[in-house]
C-alpha cells in the first residue's frame, strides 16, 4: 500500500533538490504545459495525485458500473471494434460500388455519407441543389435510390450507420422498407441513424425545422423504434461535430452528455420506458490530437453516463447504463500540406480511440483536406485500423492505461470540468437539462463557447504558439501530387433523370394520400413515423416529405454569432 504522506514528502524533496536545480540550468520548453482543452499538466504524476480516486468505486472492472474501463467484460478480446468507414458519393450505384470494395477490404460495418441536398431534406432537382448533388455524399431522393444502394447487401448480415439528421425519420423508413423487401424481420435490423438535431443547432448547422419540433420528431422515432426495431440504434448523440466546430475536449464531453440528458428527459416526458430506450441510444465522439486527453475523455464519458442513467434517471437494467460509442478521427486536424503526414496523425488518433474503448471507429483518409477519399487513401485508413487490431497487441488487454497516475488523474479532472458545464446548463433550464439545452440554443450559449474556443485555437496557430507540422513549421515548397477523387458532373443530370422517372411511374395518388396523413399527424401532434413509412413505401421524395413538415412546423434560420 502506498504511503501517501511519505510520497508527498518525497515529491517535495524531489522538486527542491532534483527538479529545481535542473531547470535552472536547462529550462523546460514552455512556461507551462497544457492539454488542448487548457488543462495544465505537471511533469510527473504519482499516487498522491489520485489519492481521492477509489479503485472499486471509480475504476473497477469492464462490463460493470461505472464502466470506466469498458462496457463489455471482454471488450476487444471478444470482438474487435467495428471498422466502419463513413463513405458515399455520387449516385447510389457509385456508393454501392465503394461499399462493396470496403467490405472486401475488411471493413465490418457500413456508414453512409449523404450529399448536402439530401442532408438538408431537398431533392436533386431543387434549384438550391444545383452543383451540390452527389458531391459530399450519395444523392438519395426516393426509396429507389436505397434499393440500388443496398443491392447485394444483406441487411441481416451487415449493420449500416446513417449520418442523417433533419430527414432521419425518412431514411430510417427507407431502411426498414428495404429490410421488408429483403424479407429481414424488423426486429433483426441493426444499424444507427445519427438523428441528433441538438448538435446541429450547436455546431453542424444542418438546420431545417426549429428546435422544438426537431426534438419532437426525434422522440417520435424513439417511440416507434423501441417497439419496431429493437436492435437498431435510434440516435447517435454526437460530440464529433461540436469538436470539429472548434470546441475543447471538455466542451465536447460536456455538451454531448448534456444533449444526451436532454433527449432522455424528452423521452421520459413522452412516457417512454427508459430501460427500453437506453440500449438503443449510442454516442459519437471525436478523436483529436492530444493523445492522453482523448483517452481520458472517453473513460470519463462512460463513467459519467453510467452515473447519470442509474442515479439521475433511475434506469434499472445495467444495459441501460452502458455508453456505447463510435469514434471518428478528427477531420479538422488533417492538413492540405504534406498530406502523407495525415496518416501518422490518424494513427495516433485511432490509437487513442482504441485505448479509450470505442465500439466502432472511422479513420480519416490522408487526402481528405483536398477531397473525398480516393480508393488508395481509404485503403490505407482501413489498414491503419487493421494493423492496430492485429499487429500491435493493444486489443489483447482491456483498458491497459487504467491505474496510470496521469490518466486516472486526467479522467477525473475532465469529468469534474464537464460537470461544471452541465450544472451551468441545468441552471439555464431551471433544473431541466432539456430546457437548459433549448435555452442555450436560443441564447447562443453553445455557439459562443464553441466559437470562442475556435478563435483561441486559431490565434495560437497564427502566433506560432501552437505548431501544426507542415503548416506553420517544417514546411516545404510543394505541389499536390496525390490523386484526387472527382465526382462525375454527370451525376446531377443522371440523378435528376432518375427522380423524374420515379415520380412518373409511381402511384401519385397514394403519395398524395400519405402526405396528407403526415400533415394531419404533424398538425395533431401524433407520431409521424407511420405516415412517413407509408409515404416512403410509395416513393414519395425526401423533398416532398420534408416540405410537409416545413409547412407545419416552420423553418429555422440560425442567428449570427461570430
Amino acid at each position: 500500500m502506498d504511503n501517501i504522506d511519505e510520497i508527498k514528502k518525497k515529491r517535495k524533496e524531489w522538486e527542491e533538490k532534483c527538479l529545481k536545480p535542473w531547470i535552472a540550468k536547462a529550462p523546460e520548453r514552455e512556461e507551462k504545459f497544457e492539454t488542448l482543452s487548457g488543462i495544465e499538466v505537471k511533469g510527473v504524476y504519482d499516487p498522491a495525485d489520485i489519492e481521492h480516486i477509489d479503485f472499486l468505486r471509480d475504476i473497477g472492472y469492464p462490463g460493470e458500473f461505472p464502466f470506466t474501463r469498458g462496457v463489455y467484460p471482454t471488450m476487444y478480446r471478444g470482438r474487435i471494434w467495428t471498422m466502419r468507414q463513413f463513405s458515399g458519393f455520387g449516385t447510389a450505384e457509385d456508393t454501392n460500388r465503394r461499399w462493396k470494395m470496403l467490405l472486401q477490404e475488411g471493413e465490418t460495418g457500413l456508414s453512409t455519407a449523404f450529399d448536402f441536398p439530401t442532408l438538408m431534406g431537398r431533392d436533386s432537382d431543387d434549384p438550391l441543389s444545383d452543383g451540390e448533388v452527389g458531391k459530399v455524399g450519395v444523392a438519395v431522393d426516393t426509396l429507389k435510390d436505397f434499393e440500388i444502394l443496398f443491392d447485394g447487401i444483406p441487411l441481416d448480415k451487415v449493420s449500416t450507420s446513417f449520418t442523417i439528421n433533419p430527414p432521419a425519420a425518412i431514411i430510417l423508413a427507407m431502411y426498414v422498407t428495404i429490410g421488408d423487401m429483403q424479407g429481414v424481420p424488423r426486429d433483426q435490423l441493426r444499424g444507427t441513424i445519427q438523428n441528433d438535431m441538438l448538435k446541429e443547432f450547436h455546431a453542424q448547422n444542418t438546420l431545417v425545422l426549429p428546435p422544438e419540433p426537431s426534438v419532437k420528431i426525434i422522440v417520435d422515432i424513439f417511440e416507434w423504434g423501441v417497439e419496431n426495431v429493437p436492435k437498431f440504434n435510434l440516435i447517435s448523440i454526437s460530440g464529433y461535430h461540436i469538436r470539429e466546430a472548434g470546441s475543447t475536449a471538455v466542451q465536447e464531453l460536456a455538451f454531448t452528455i448534456a444533449d444526451g440528458m436532454a433527449y432522455v428527459e424528452a423521452a421520459l416526458e413522452r412516457g417512454i420506458d427508459i430501460d427500453k430506450l437506453a440500449p438503443q441510444l449510442s454516442f459519437f465522439f471525436n478523436a483529436h490530437n492530444d493523445f492522453f486527453e482523448e483517452i481520458a475523455k472517453f473513460r470519463a464519458a462512460r463513467r459519467m453516463w453510467a452515473k447519470i442513467m442509474r442515479d439521475e434517471y433511475g434506469a434499472k437494467n445495467p444495459r441501460s447504463w452502458w455508453m456505447k460509442f463510435h469514434v471518428q478521427t478528427a477531420g479538422c486536424t488533417l492538413t492540405a500540406q504534406q498530406p502523407l503526414n495525415n496518416i501518422v496523425r490518424v494513427t495516433i488518433q485511432a490509437l487513442a480511440a482504441v485505448l479509450g474503448g470505442c465500439q466502432s471507429l472511422h479513420t480519416n483518409s490522408f487526402d481528405e483536406a483536398w477531397a473525398l477519399p480516393s480508393e488508395e487513401a481509404v485503403r490505407v485508413a482501413l489498414r491503419t485500423q487493421q494493423i492496430i487490431a492485429y499487429e500491435s497487441g493493444i486489443p489483447n488487454v482491456i483498458d491497459p492505461l487504467a491505474g496510470s497516475y496521469y490518466v486516472e488523474w486526467l479522467t477525473d479532472k475532465m469529468e469534474k470540468l464537464a460537470w461544471k458545464y452541465i450544472e451551468e446548463i441545468r441552471k439555464m433550464g431551471e433544473g431541466s437539462m432539456l430546457r437548459g439545452v433549448l435555452k442555450g440554443i436560443e441564447t447562443g450559449y453553445f455557439v459562443k463557447e464553441i466559437t470562442n474556443s475556435a478563435a483561441r485555437y486559431q490565434k495560437e496557430i497564427e502566433e506560432g504558439k501552437r505548431i501544426v507540422v507542415g503548416v506553420n513549421k517544417f514546411t516545404i515548397e510543394e505541389e499536390l501530387k496525390i490523386p484526387i477523387l472527382k465526382v462525375d458532373p454527370e451525376v446531377q443530370r443522371k440523378q435528376i433523370e432518375r427522380l423524374r422517372r420515379v415520380k412518373a411511374e409511381r402511384d401519385n395518388d397514394a403519395v398524395k394520400e400519405a402526405l396528407e396523413w403526415l400533415r394531419n399527424a404533424a398538425e395533431n401532434d401524433e407520431n409521424v413515423m407511420p405516415p412517413i413509412l407509408e409515404a416512403v413505401r410509395n416513393y414519395a421524395t425526401i423533398g416532398e416529405i420534408m416540405g410537409v413538415l416545413k409547412e407545419v412546423y416552420g423553418t429555422y434560420t440560425k442567428p449570427i454569432i461570430i
Binding site: 431545417v208 416552420g554 423553418t555 429555422y556 434560420t557 449570427i560
Partner: protein, 349 residues
C-alpha cells in the same frame, strides 16, 4: 476649383434619382468616407429629400432589433411600401474594424429569400467607427440618400448602449425603443436617456417571464415623466426642452401617448400592431405639423454637429493654438478660458 469628379457625381445623382441601386450603394460609400463626391452628391439631391418616413430603432444588444426590423420590413412590403435600412454597428475604436449588421434575419430559408433579393428593400450596414461625434450627421446623410432614391420608409437601426446612439435616434421622425423582459439594470437604461425619446415602445420576447412587469414599469416611468413635465411646466409652448432637444412629455404637449407594444418578433407576433403604430405616428406628425418641427430640430442639431466639425478642422489646420495649450499645461489658465481664447482667435480678434 473642383476637387470632385463631375462625371461620376452626375452619373451617381442620375442613378440615385433614377432608381439605380448600385449608384445608391456607391454614393453611400462616398458619403460615409467623406469623399468630395459625397458632399457634392448630397448638395444635388437635397431637394429630393423629405419624402420618406424615417424610423429609428434602438435597444440594447440582444433585444431582437434585427428580427423586428426584418419582420417590419416584410410587413411594410406587404403593405406595398419600399424599405431602406441602415444598420449602425459599433466598430472597434482600437483596430477600427467592425463586424457589421446581422443582415435581414428572417425565419426560414425560403421566406428570407424574398427580402434579400426583393428590389423594394435595401439594406446597408454602417460602422460607428468609435466616433461619437458626427455620427448622427453621417447617418442622416445616408438616410437622405435613401430618401432621395425614393424609399417610402427608412429604418435606422442602432445599438442603444450610450449617448451617441441616443443621438442617432434623433435622426428619425419616429423613434422606437425596444426592450425585453429581464433586461436587468433599469436605472442604467434611464441614465442613457433612452426612456426620454421613444414615440413607440416595444417589449419584445414578450413570452418571457416578466414581460408584463416590464410593461407596467415602462408605463410608470412614462407617467412619472409626464407628471414631472406638468409640474415644471416643461412644455413645448413654454420653450422648455430637455437637453436632448426633445420634449419630455408627449401627452401634455402633443397629444401623442407613446404606445407600449408587446411583440414576439421571431414568431411574428405584434408586428402588425407595431406597423400600425408606426403609420399612425407618421400620420399624426403630418397632421399636427410636428413633423416639420421635429425636422427643424433635427436640421439644427445636425447642422451644429457639422459646423462644429468644420470649425474643428479649421482650427486644427489653419490656426496656431499650441501656445494656448501650453498655458493650460503650465496651469496658467484653465480649459474653459483656453477654449474662449481659441474662439476669439478664430473669430479674428
Amino acid at each position: 476649383m473642383k476637387d470632385y469628379n463631375e462625371e461620376e457625381v452626375e452619373e451617381l445623382v442620375k442613378g440615385i434619382l433614377g432608381g439605380n441601386r448600385r449608384a445608391l450603394a456607391r454614393a453611400i460609400t462616398y458619403v460615409e468616407n467623406d469623399y468630395p463626391e459625397g458632399k457634392e452628391i448630397l448638395r444635388r439631391i437635397h431637394k429630393n429629400t423629405g419624402k420618406a418616413h424615417i424610423v429609428g430603432l434602438t435597444g440594447f444588444p440582444g433585444v431582437g432589433k434585427s428580427t423586428i426590423v426584418s419582420k417590419l420590413t416584410q410587413e411594410f412590403r406587404k403593405r406595398g411600401k419600399t424599405v431602406g435600412i441602415v444598420a449602425v454597428d459599433p466598430g472597434s475604436p482600437f483596430t477600427g474594424g467592425a463586424l457589421l449588421g446581422d443582415r435581414l434575419r428572417m425565419d426560414g430559408f425560403d421566406v428570407s429569400r424574398n427580402l434579400w433579393i426583393d428590389p423594394g428593400v435595401f439594406f446597408r450596414s454602417m460602422s460607428s467607427r468609435g466616433r461619437a461625434g458626427g455620427l448622427a450627421a453621417k447617418t442622416g446623410d445616408v438616410v437622405r440618400l435613401m430618401d432621395a432614391y425614393g424609399f417610402d420608409i427608412v429604418f435606422v437601426e442602432t445599438v442603444g448602449a450610450g449617448q451617441s446612439e441616443v443621438d442617432i435616434v434623433e435622426v428619425a421622425d419616429t423613434s422606437i425603443v425596444i426592450l425585453m423582459p429581464e433586461i436587468g439594470d433599469d436605472i442604467q437604461m434611464n441614465k442613457a436617456g433612452i426612456l426620454e425619446i421613444g414615440d413607440i415602445y416595444v417589449v419584445n420576447k414578450a413570452d418571457l417571464e416578466g414581460a408584463d412587469k416590464t410593461v407596467e414599469w415602462l408605463k410608470s416611468m412614462l407617467k412619472m415623466g409626464e407628471e414631472l413635465a406638468k409640474a415644471t411646466e416643461l412644455t413645448h409652448a413654454a420653450g422648455g426642452k430637455m437637453a436632448s432637444g426633445k420634449v419630455f412629455s408627449y401627452e401634455t404637449e402633443t397629444g401623442w401617448k407613446p404606445p407600449i407594444i408587446k411583440t414576439i418578433a421571431d414568431r411574428g407576433k405584434g408586428i402588425k400592431e407595431l406597423a400600425d403604430a408606426i403609420e399612425k405616428h407618421y400620420k399624426y406628425l403630418k397632421e399636427t405639423c410636428l413633423l416639420k418641427e421635429r425636422r427643424e430640430m433635427r436640421v439644427k442639431r445636425e447642422l451644429f454637429e457639422l459646423v462644429a466639425e468644420e470649425i474643428k478642422k479649421i482650427i486644427k489646420a489653419r490656426m496656431d493654438y499650441g501656445d494656448i495649450v501650453q498655458r493650460v499645461l503650465n496651469n496658467e489658465i484653465d480649459l474653459h478660458t483656453a477654449a474662449e481664447e481659441i474662439v476669439k482667435r478664430l473669430v479674428g480678434a
